[in-house]
């Protein structure tokens, strides 16, 4: 009984912590994106609410909460309502295994990394549900594009992840971090890092891989028919996905929480936000790819490269050990 109570309290506290982190992270990232895009385009960005517009997203969030939830007439009601939930759940699950520091993590599962990859595939299903249930051709087109893209980019993503996993010999995030005590994996596997970041950007549907929601062609893509908080949940999930991809990349390539002087949590967050900044930089620098270029790039360049990388890694490991 005592065990149940202790575990219950632990899980409850973790859930509160994760949800606060998700909310604060999204609020911060939206502000950061607006600021980064603004400065790249030589304009100041939001300046009115709070210091340099720091409170702008809070005002926007309040506005979104107050908005009417419109449900179009011909939608497939149940699936339409379920889609944002299915989108958001895997995001929460992934935080179960992300190690922010040696002590600050919820569960140190030995299949941790696999859990993140497994649940992130649900996102595609959610996008498909949203696009199909909306009964809108732009939404459906966005969803179909998203599926094709995610299927294509998931393969090199998993293959590059595999090459890191066989180096560490474990799916456990803390072991993968500990294995990089001397040299970070980014210096051992630079190609894998580049491939991983490209695929991660594609998996989060961000420019230059944002054809599932290409504004200029598809209105807003799969979430065209969503309004108010339902739309906000998709947005929240997207920004949290950015955090998760960057966190996984930090664990895999940047030595996780390790670093001198500062406490581990600070190092971890610094690295994560540096990677997120990199992804934002991509978005405001590169133009969107055409759909066939995008798919060709994945199948004809990324997959062979990641396969070669995996094979070479395996060979070298066999020779060294």
């Amino acid at each position: 009984m005592q065990f149940l109570l202790a575990e219950g309290a632990r899980l409850g506290l973790s859930l509160i912590g994760v949800i606060s982190l998700v909310a604060v992270n999204a609020l911060f990232l939206i502000w950061m994106e607006r600021k980064v895009s603004a400065h790249i385009q030589l304009r100041p960005g939001p300046m009115e609410v709070g210091f340099h517009g720091a409170l702008q997203t809070i005002a926007d969030a309040l506005k979104l909460i107050g908005k009417e939830l419109i449900t179009p007439e011909d939608v497939d009601k149940l699936i339409y309502l379920l889609a944002p939930i299915v989108m958001f759940l895997p995001v929460l699950v992934s935080f179960l295994v992300i190690p922010f520091s040696p002590t600050l993590l919820i569960r140190d599962l030995n299949v941790g990394v696999l859990l993140i990859f497994a649940f992130s595939t649900l996102t595609v299903l959610a996008i498909l549900m949203a696009g199909w249930a909306s009964n809108n051709k732009y939404a459906l087109l966005g969803a179909i594009r998203s599926v094709a893209q995610n299927v294509a980019y998931e393969i090199p993503l998993l293959l590059t992840a595999m090459s890191i996993i066989i180096m560490a010999g474990s799916f456990q995030p803390s072991v993968i971090v500990a294995q990089q005590g001397l040299v970070w994996n980014i210096f051992v596997q630079p190609l894998a890092f580049i491939l991983f970041i490209i695929c991660g950007t594609a998996e989060t549907n961000r420019a230059p891989f944002d054809i599932p929601e290409a504004e200029s062609e598809l209105v807003a893509g799969f979430h065209t028919e969503y309004s108010g908080m339902r739309f906000a949940i998709f947005f929240l999930a997207e920004y949290t996905n950015m955090f998760i991809v960057s966190a996984v990349a930090t664990i895999f390539f940047l030595g996780g929480w390790q670093g001198p002087f500062l406490p581990p949590v600070v190092w971890f967050l610094l690295k994560v936000y540096a990677l997120i900044f990199l992804m934002m930089w991509f978005r405001w620098t590169f133009p969107r790819l055409r759909f066939d270029q995008l798919i060709t790039f994945a199948w004809k360049i990324l997959i062979p490269l990641s396969l070669v990388n995996l094979i070479v890694t395996a060979f070298v490991l066999k020779l060294v050990r």
């Binding site: 699936i79 299949v111 696999l114 990859f117 497994a118 595939t121 549900m129 199909w132 599926v147 299927v151």
Partner: protein
């Protein structure tokens, strides 16, 4: 009976309920997209059963491969096939009967097999069921099965390439 009302029992009921409920949707729903979502739910339940039986690795693989890849591939196939808004023809009773008999036969055979086999609990056979052990077994004792599955996948891939070889056909102009 009281076992079912413990935390473990309730989670067992939940995953079995998900599996069966999902399976019923997968078979019964009239909308093909609902069928796929039912299948996804059912496979998720199966992953839950693996988790309940203390093999998290298999559970994750189930989600990654079956929910993540197979269901999405099915969705993809559906979107490329006939339009979804068209009304479906009513079900033919003879087809329903045939499907029920076929599925029933499979069920009876499997149930008989399950009943006949003398199951030894995994814990009694070995106490090392780590991913490493599974990997070793796959490449030693069960190498034949592993190779057979690889061969089937290879044939499927070759078939897909042969089908797609001629491309979409360029428009003549």
């Amino acid at each position: 009976m009281s076992e079912l009302f413990s935390l473990a029992g309730l989670s067992f009921l939940l995953v079995v309920g998900m599996t069966l409920g999902g399976a019923f949707i997968a078979v019964g729903a009239r909308n093909i997209f609902h069928n796929v979502l039912g299948l996804a739910l059912s496979l998720f339940g199966v992953a839950g059963i693996f988790l309940y039986l203390n093999s998290p690795f298999l559970a994750m693989m189930e989600i990654l491969i079956y929910v993540g890849a197979i269901c999405i591939a099915i969705c993809f196939a559906i979107m490329l096939s006939e339009p979804l808004y068209r009304p479906r023809p009513p079900r033919k009773p003879i087809k329903l009967l045939g499907a029920a008999v076929g599925a029933g036969l499979v069920f009876v055979v499997f149930a008989a097999l399950v009943k006949k086999t003398a199951w030894v609990p995994a814990a009694m056979r070995s106490d090392d069921w780590s991913v490493t052990t599974i990997g070793h077994y796959l490449l030693t004792r069960y190498a034949l099965i592993f190779e057979a599955i690889s061969l089937i996948l290879l044939v499927a891939m070759l078939g897909a390439i042969v089908n797609a070889k001629n491309g979409r056909g360029r428009e003549e102009s």
